[in-house]
Every structure is written in structure tokens, then in C-alpha cells.
Amino acid sequence: MRMRNIIYFIKEAMKSLRRNTLLTFATISTASICILILGIAVLITMNASQFMNKLESDVEIIAYMEKDTSGTQIASIKDSIKNIAGVKEVKFVSCEEALENLQESLGKDKYDLKETLEKNPLPDSYQIKTVNPHDVPEIAKRIELLANVKAVTYGKGIVERLFEVTKWVRLVSIFLIGLLAFGAIFLIATTIRLAIYARRKEIYLMKLIGATDGFIRWPFFIEGIILGSFGAAISIVVLALGYQSLIVRMDSLFFLPLITGQDALLVLYISLLITGMFLGVLGTLISINRFLDV
């Protein structure tokens, strides 16, 4: 396509956007609402996913030692555990620390366990984290086989439940994002189709005086791009401002941190912009052809 034509088509597109105000307004606002909702859904999913990763990564294995294991044996067990593929971190918890923790969980300063107990009934132990939390049950089984390991726990039951929950949350959110994306495509395409329908006689006439399909399509395409990206831009501004103020307000929830990485957000915003542009063109593409057959 020659340069002259591109300029011509852009001019035509701008003119028609200005003259069909109702159609322009309807399409831009539809696009921005759809993309805003889609963007919010993606943000929520991103945050939920980060939170679930955090929950999952908290899952750890505790391996209890036999009561009469010697210091060197304990050290060699550490090496054996570290050698298991998928183990990320191994931390030693002495029996004294364990008692301290137990004391704490029962209510510190209320009962003095050490006072009540003549000797510490708890064993030394290792806390083990895995690279992939889903490997926990597998790795726990292998640690249990090591010499001098008396027992292994990892919140059996609870962990499986947690994984079951996160699996479902992920599935449902993918499904929802998919549904919203489909909805956005469909709604934007429908609005564009109605806007083009309102101008069907114009298209018909253009064909009658000899315009090629391409000649008619190009300005509509450019309109689609402008409408889609303009709508997306509006929604991105709203989303960015809203999310920023949410971050400030939810500061109290330090234990439930929101995604604040500017990189991740930037990627999201750019993707939304591209989505808008793409939907604008796609909507035009699937709508205009049925009016071109003259």
C-alpha cells in the first residue's frame, strides 16, 4: 500500500470518527468497560496466584530424629536430605527450640512447661522446604527411609486439601478470565457490528460506485484500531489509578501483600492495550465482510 493511501485512509477514519459521534462514543465506552473488567480480573488472579504460591511455599516437612542420635549422625542426615532431588532448604531445630515453640503455642508465661516437665520429651528435628511444594509428599516418603529418622510429618491431609483448593482456585480463575475475555471479544465485536450496521447503506453505496473491498475496509480497520486502543487506554488509566490507591489503603494487610512490581503491572497494562487494539480490529474484521458482498 502506498504512503499516500495510508494517509488518506487515516484521514477518512478520523473524519468518520468525528462525524458519527454516537457510534464512536458507544464503541469506545464498550471497549473501555470490557477491558477494565478484564484487567481487574487479571489483577485479582495475579494477586490470588501470588498469595497461593506463598501459602504453598509455606508447606514444609518435619523429620524427627531418634532420641539417641549422635551429633555427627545428625549432620550426615542433613547431607542425605540435601542430596534428595527437589529439596531446597534444610533447617535444624534442636529439641530445646522445639520445646520453646511448643511452650509458645500453649500461651507463653501462662504455663512453664520446663518447670512441669522433668525432662524434655521432644526430639531434635529438621524442617525441610522443597523447590516445588507439590513434591512434599513424595520427598517426605524418601526422608522417612533414612537411618535415624524416627518419623516424618508434613501436615498430611491439610497439605492435600490446600493443594486441592489452590488447584480449584486456579482452574476457576482461568475459566473466568477465559469467559471474560470471550465476553469482551463478543461484546466489542457486537458493538462494532451494530455501528457498522448503522452505516451499511454507506458501504453498499461505496461498493456500487466501484470501491474495492480493501478501499472500504481500510478506514474501518483504522477506526477499529483507534477505538480499541483508545478504549483500552481509558481503562488502563482507571485501573492504574484505582490499583495504586488500593495498594496504599491495603497497606495494613502486610501479611497479604499485593503485587506492586512495576514491571509486572507494566506488562499487564501493555497487554491490555494490545488486547484493545486487537479486539478493535478483530471486531471490524468479523463484522464488515457481511456488508461488503454487493
Partner: protein, 227 residues
């Protein structure tokens, strides 16, 4: 031969037989009037020429190309070789008078400076000077009709097809438009014009085809039209 119809019939999807076995030859440079009562099939015949409608039976050739068997991608170039004045004007509502005329030239890929020169020229020819920036909705019926005429002649087409181009014009304006058409015709453009204006046809002494109920009832090359 520029236009040839061979046994063309048109039956619309709702069963109406608009054309019935029409055969017809039109020479390059001819000026042809199509007459006949309302509903006789004049517009239908005209729509066949630029393939707004396809015949149900029969063959149509324009400049030796079959309009009926033409591929979809060839249609634009067929239409670009023609100027068409539509019975219902068919102006672009969202474009001004100038833009409507310019659009027809942009479609055929005319150069910018050509468009800039030609558009005011043809607007002037049809007597619409001063209305360049009006939108069709801001024009009288006859003014809209003349925009349609200006658009049709802008590209100096090989064939000019005019469906009732003076139906909304007073006699003086009609005569001016007819003079314009005659001069275009003299420069070589073939003109096919459907009309009800007996005065015009009588004065013109051109070939007249009378249609009735989809059939040609007279084809009078002498133009000694009398009814």
C-alpha cells in the same frame, strides 16, 4: 458493440418477473432513452449493467466482457468504468457535497491535484456552486439529485447510466442538465438514461426504447418518439 443483452430475464426472489427475454445492442457513443410506465423494468435493466442485480437467465456483455460470469474481484473495475446516477440518489449522508464527488474520484485512484481541480468544476456544471460544504440532509431534493449527477460525471466515464436524473428538477434546470449530458455524449461517452420526461425525449431525437411489463415494445433509433 459496447453493450449487448442476449435474452435476459430477471425474476426477483419474491417471484416478480421484472425483465422478460430482453435482447439489446448499444453502440459506443450512443445516447439511449429508456422509457415505460412505472414498474416496467427500467431500473432493473440498468442495475444489470453494473451488476447490482444478476440476470436470472441470459447473457450481458459490456466491452466484450461477460458481466454475468465476471468474478467478484472484477466487479469494481467494471463499475469504475461507469458513472451512475441513481433514482434514489444514494449520497453518502456523512460527507459534504464536495466530499461526495471527491469520493468517487478517490475510489478510482485519481491524483490529489486532479481531484482538487475537478470537484469544483463539476459542482459548478450542475449549478451547485455555494453548496460545496453542505451535507445531503441540508439540500433540497433537486440539489441532491444534481450532486448525484456531478458525482457520476466526475470521472469522465466511458458509460454514463442515469436513472431518472431529472425527476426532481424544474424544466429550466432539467434543460441545463440535459445540455450537459449531450455535450458529454458528444465527447464520446455512451449514455443510457431512464426517464419519464416526455418533453425531454421529444426534443432530443435520440434512440428510445420503450419497456412494458419487462418487455421491449418499441426500439426506435430515429427518436421520432410519439405517444
Amino acid at each position: 458493440m459496447l453493450v449487448q443483452f442476449y435474452n435476459v430475464s430477471k425474476i426477483y426472489p419474491n417471484g416478480v418477473k421484472a425483465l422478460d427475454d430482453i435482447s439489446l445492442k448499444i453502440d459506443r457513443g450512443e445516447f439511449l432513452f429508456l422509457m415505460g410506465p412505472s414498474g416496467a423494468g427500467k431500473s432493473t435493466l440498468i442495475k444489470m449493467l453494473f451488476r447490482e442485480e444478476k440476470p436470472t437467465r441470459g447473457q450481458i456483455f459490456i466491452a466484450s466482457r461477460s458481466v454475468v460470469r465476471m468474478k467478484r474481484s472484477e466487479i469494481p473495475s467494471l463499475r469504475r468504468s461507469m458513472g451512475i446516477v441513481f433514482q434514489d440518489f444514494k449520497l453518502l449522508e456523512s460527507k459534504t457535497v464536495s466530499e461526495n464527488v471527491a469520493f468517487a474520484m478517490e475510489v478510482v485512484g485519481a491524483r490529489n491535484h486532479e481531484i482538487k481541480n475537478r470537484v469544483p468544476e463539476v459542482i459548478n456544471m450542475v449549478g451547485l456552486k455555494g453548496k460545496e460544504d453542505a451535507f445531503p440532509g441540508q439540500l433540497s431534493g433537486g440539489e441532491q439529485q444534481r450532486v448525484g449527477i456531478a458525482r457520476a460525471i466526475a470521472n469522465q466515464p466511458l458509460i454514463l447510466i442515469a436513472d431518472e436524473p431529472t425527476g426532481n428538477l424544474d424544466i429550466d434546470t432539467s434543460n441545463e442538465i440535459m445540455d450537459l449530458l449531450y455535450s458529454i455524449n458528444r465527447k464520446g461517452t455512451t449514455i443510457i438514461m431512464a426517464t419519464h420526461a416526455r418533453e425531454i425525449v421529444k426534443a432530443a431525437h435520440k434512440r428510445v426504447i420503450m419497456l412494458e411489463k419487462g418487455r421491449i415494445i418499441t426500439d426506435d433509433s430515429s427518436g421520432d418518439y410519439a405517444l
